[in-house]
């Protein structure tokens, strides 16, 4: 419905749409014209409305028009709505709308004010060296953090609104001289086409952006830190920042990203390479150790060194469970403890970890329900998995699967499963970017930031695994 010259008609139409008590209607006078300022009282910046809108309006004399009002109103963000529905949407989103009798438009002021969480170090990616600030739930704050990191005119934000009820603001962020414009267009189009009730977190968006809807593997990168996001978009990726979520998404995603830690880039190359090697080793250990231990016990005793075999034989004496069931049972208890400690309040969580880790484990071994090596292997596997926390969920499922395969088919079953996994991973692509790059397909120049962390001076070009408009990033 179009906004008419009749103020009362317009206000009545708005009231019909916004039938809620938190929307306030302030009747005002703009010279000789009557007017009404409409705003959501808990989200509008009332102080700013008073000083930037109401005070200049009260100073007006005589009949007024649209041009004069635009000149005297001091709000830095002033827009117009020509439809009642648009105006109502903007008010619901926290903007304030001014209707003036005789003017067929509503002035919309972007004067919002609500409580925000302070910028803090994100708990999921803490660093010893390097920036500690993390994203918060406010899109405006997150955008400001990015602008502070990359004060370049090439840094672009495209704003979109998604969610029928939530009308969540989503910003597509990229560097226009670096990012692949086709990718930006594809992503923008995909986000625009999401027709869902509400976007409550960025993870909702990531579910729509992944090209393989049922895949176990992550397809969209994410980070809570502006420095990481800046580094990623400098490599040619496109970021998606969602209002209400402290986690920014990045596309395209490579598996190797999660083997890299922010601290790798602030420490020396040697220690970063060592740390990455340890992470890779830990991942393999966590995935294969429980499965291999079970398969060795059931099918391939000849693989186990004699002294270790004797230790195992002594420790499993009297254990009522079969090796695979014992390991499965221990893993199940570990997963339950893990789930409980994440869900419980922090002070109770401490108790759970002590009771679970020490008391339950110790007594289960003493009672002869599970063996000490099995407990140790699961504990080690669990710890190893957290060296790459981003992939913990995926890998814990694969570990369970491998355990079942190892217990049922033995070592050759594990080999076959690994072959299937490798085939799946090498064939997996998202936005035409192979998940396993730069290892498969092998991109030799990108290996400088793979498991090996090259010196910064060596990394003069952006990753070739990603499509980017501008390859060079360091002029020697």
């Amino acid at each position: 419905m179009k906004i008419s010259c009749d103020l009362q008609k317009n206000v009545a139409a708005i009231k019909k749409i916004l039938d809620t008590d938190d929307v306030k209607y302030k009747e005002i006078k703009a010279g000789s014209n009557k007017g009404c300022l409409i705003f959501a009282s808990d989200i509008a910046d009332k102080e700013a409305l008073g000083s930037l809108i109401l005070r200049p309006l009260s100073a007006l004399k005589g009949k007024t028009d649209e041009k004069t009002l635009y000149k005297i109103l001091l709000s830095p963000e002033t827009d117009f709505a020509v439809n009642i529905e648009d105006a109502a949407k903007q008010i619901a989103d926290g903007h304030s709308a001014l209707f003036i009798d005789g003017i067929e438009k509503a002035f919309v002021f972007g004067l919002k004010k609500y409580d925000k969480r302070a910028i803090a170090e994100p708990p999921t990616s803490t660093v010893i060296k390097g920036p500690r600030e993390g994203f918060v739930e406010s899109l405006a704050v997150n955008v400001s953090l990015m602008r502070r990191k990359l004060a370049s005119p090439d840094l672009c934000f495209k704003y979109l609104t998604v969610g029928k009820f939530s009308a969540t603001q989503v910003a597509v962020c990229y560097i226009k001289t670096v990012a692949d414009t086709k990718l930006v267009e594809t992503l923008t189009e995909k986000i625009r086409s999401i027709n869902i009730d509400a976007i409550l977190d960025s993870s909702y968006i990531s579910k729509f952006l992944g090209e393989h809807k049922t895949s176990l593997f992550k397809q969209i990168g994410n980070t809570e830190k502006p420095d990481i996001l800046a580094a990623k978009i400098l490599e040619g990726r496109v970021a998606i920042i969602v209002d209400g979520s402290p986690i920014a998404l990045t596309v395209p995603y490579l598996l190797v990203e999660d083997l890299q830690s922010p601290s790798d880039y602030y420490n020396s190359s040697y220690s970063a390479t060592l740390a990455r090697l340890i992470r890779v080793f830990a991942i393999f250990l966590s995935l294969y150790l429980p499965a291999f231990y079970v398969s060795a016990q059931l099918f391939h005793l000849q693989f186990i060194p004699l002294s270790f075999l004797l230790t195992i034989v002594n420790s499993i004496k009297g254990i009522p469970l079969s090796p695979s069931f014992e390991m499965f049972f221990t893993l199940l208890i570990f997963e339950i403890l893990n789930e409980a400690s994440v869900r419980m309040p922090r002070y109770v969580g401490m108790v759970v970890s002590i009771v679970g880790g020490l008391v339950l484990g110790e007594t289960a071994v003493n009672a002869g329900i599970i063996s000490a090596p099995a407990l140790m292997i699961i504990a080690l596997s669990g710890i190893c998995l957290y060296t790459v926390p981003e992939l913990e969920q995926t890998f814990s499922l694969i570990r369970l699967l491998l355990l079942v395969i190892g217990g049922s088919f033995g070592a050759f079953g594990l080999i076959v499963a690994s072959a299937i996994l490798l085939t799946y991973l090498v064939s997996f692509e998202n936005y035409s970017t192979p998940l396993l790059a730069p290892f498969s397909p092998l991109v030799i120049k990108d290996l400088k930031d793979g498991v090996y962390k090259g010196f910064m001076i060596e990394q003069s070009i952006r990753p070739l695994s990603l499509k980017n408009a501008n390859k060079r990033r360091l002029d020697k």
């Binding site: 099918f299 391939h300 005793l301 000849q302 693989f303 186990i304 060194p305 004699l306 075999l309 395969i405 049922s408 088919f409 033995g410 070592a411 050759f412 079953g413 080999i415 076959v416 499963a417 690994s418 072959a419 299937i420 490798l422 085939t423 799946y424 991973l425 090498v426 064939s427 192979p434 396993l436 290892f439 498969s440 397909p441 092998l442």
Partner: protein
């Protein structure tokens, strides 16, 4: 035309994926026929493969389609369909011996007591899964497996070299040409890898000195096999033919006399992992060709390629020795013809025709 492969991937394919299937029973079979001259018999086959790939590369490098598409373009659909049918059979036959020997290897060396349906049959799930993928996945698998395979070879050789008496292969050529030829003929099923190049030629991104790189990798792949044979015979000497599974036997003296603490199984596992992909290759290409031959979907073609061998392994396992005899003694001629003779002849014919067409085009202009 979008090229599917990179030169590097073809090189990795030859170095990492192809030698491993020759490490199971082929060494003992050859040792039984030619004794210390086993490597010479293998050398004949290696030279034949090298020659095939060289001819294919030099004759068809300027073309923009693989061998089978070229046959269709130059000689029509009827001949192309016939050729594809023969090559489908070629690749299906090529799956039998490596698969059966690996099945025996897994059952006898790794498990001993478990039934084969549980121990070895899961390999078909991997093979079937690979068959469903697009061709570029083969190149990526070669990329992904390369370092694992190289580490496997390096460890295997490192563990076995200390107990190798290289003088065991002397005197060279003592067994005579007849047994050498018989050895080469009988081992044809493991070689004739030039046939894989039929899919690569004209289908890889051209790069600087790509021919040199590819031929070098083929030579390196052959050297790995020859070196393995020499080390194997140097380790076991006259009882080499009794060591059925060379891959496990070759390094066993390094670790212990008893059967425990076989840490040499670590490289064996790396090579077994590689071998799953090696086993899948003939299936993959049979699937690719049957899809072209019958114009069927990939899934159906994969079933067509995998099901007969899987059924044979499950239900007719006791006839394996008959199948082995048939393939080693009778079907070897088929392998030699379609693995070496036919590709070389056809490549030369295609090259001559292409040159003539070019000449006419120049004259007309």
């Amino acid at each position: 035309m979008i090229k599917t492969f990179r030169t590097r991937q073809i090189c990795f394919f030859y170095i990492s994926l192809l030698p491993v299937v020759k490490f199971f029973t082929m060494p003992s079979v050859l040792a039984g026929i030619c004794g210390e001259d086993l490597w010479i018999s293998a050398l004949f086959n290696c030279l034949a493969d090298f020659l095939t790939i060289s001819v294919l590369y030099f004759c068809l490098r300027c073309e923009n389609a693989d061998f089978f598409t070229l046959i269709k373009e130059k000689f029509g659909t009827a001949l192309s369909k016939t050729v594809i049918a023969f090559y489908t059979a070629f690749f299906l036959l090529k799956t039998v011996i490596p698969l059966c020997e690996e099945k025996d290897y897994v059952e006898l060396t790794l498990y001993m007591t478990s039934p084969s349906v549980f121990t070895f049959m899961p390999v078909f799930s991997a093979i079937f899964f690979i068959c469903l993928k697009k061709s570029r996945v083969i190149g990526r698998i070669a990329d992904g497996v390369f370092f694992i395979a190289v580490a496997g070879y390096a460890f295997t050789f490192a563990l076995s070299l200390s107990d190798t008496d290289l003088s065991a292969i002397l005197p060279v050529g003592a067994h005579g040409l007849k047994s050498l030829s018989l050895g080469a003929y009988s081992s044809a099923t493991w070689f004739n890898d030039g046939a894989y190049f039929l899919f690569f030629v004209g289908n890889f991104v051209k790069s600087k000195k790509d021919g040199l790189k590819i031929l070098f990798s083929v030579a390196l792949s052959s050297l790995l096999v020859l070196f393995f044979l020499v080390v194997f015979y140097g380790t076991f000497n006259s009882i080499a033919f009794r060591q059925r599974f060379a891959l496990t036997e070759i390094s066993k003296y390094t670790t212990a006399i008893n059967n425990m603490e076989r840490f040499d199984y670590i490289p064996v596992f790396a090579l077994l992992f590689t071998s799953v992909f090696s086993l899948a290759l003939p299936f993959y290409f049979a699937c690719e060709l049957s899809a072209r031959l019958f114009n069927i979907k990939r899934f159906v073609a994969a079933v067509f390629a995998c099901a007969p061998t899987a059924i044979f392994l499950i239900f007719f396992d006791e006839y394996f020795s008959t199948a082995e005899n048939f393939i080693l003694n009778i079907a070897s001629g088929y392998f030699i013809f379609f693995g070496t003779v036919f590709p070389v002849v056809m490549a030369v014919i295609i090259k001559i025709r292409a040159d003539k067409e070019k000449k006419y085009a120049v004259c007309e202009n």
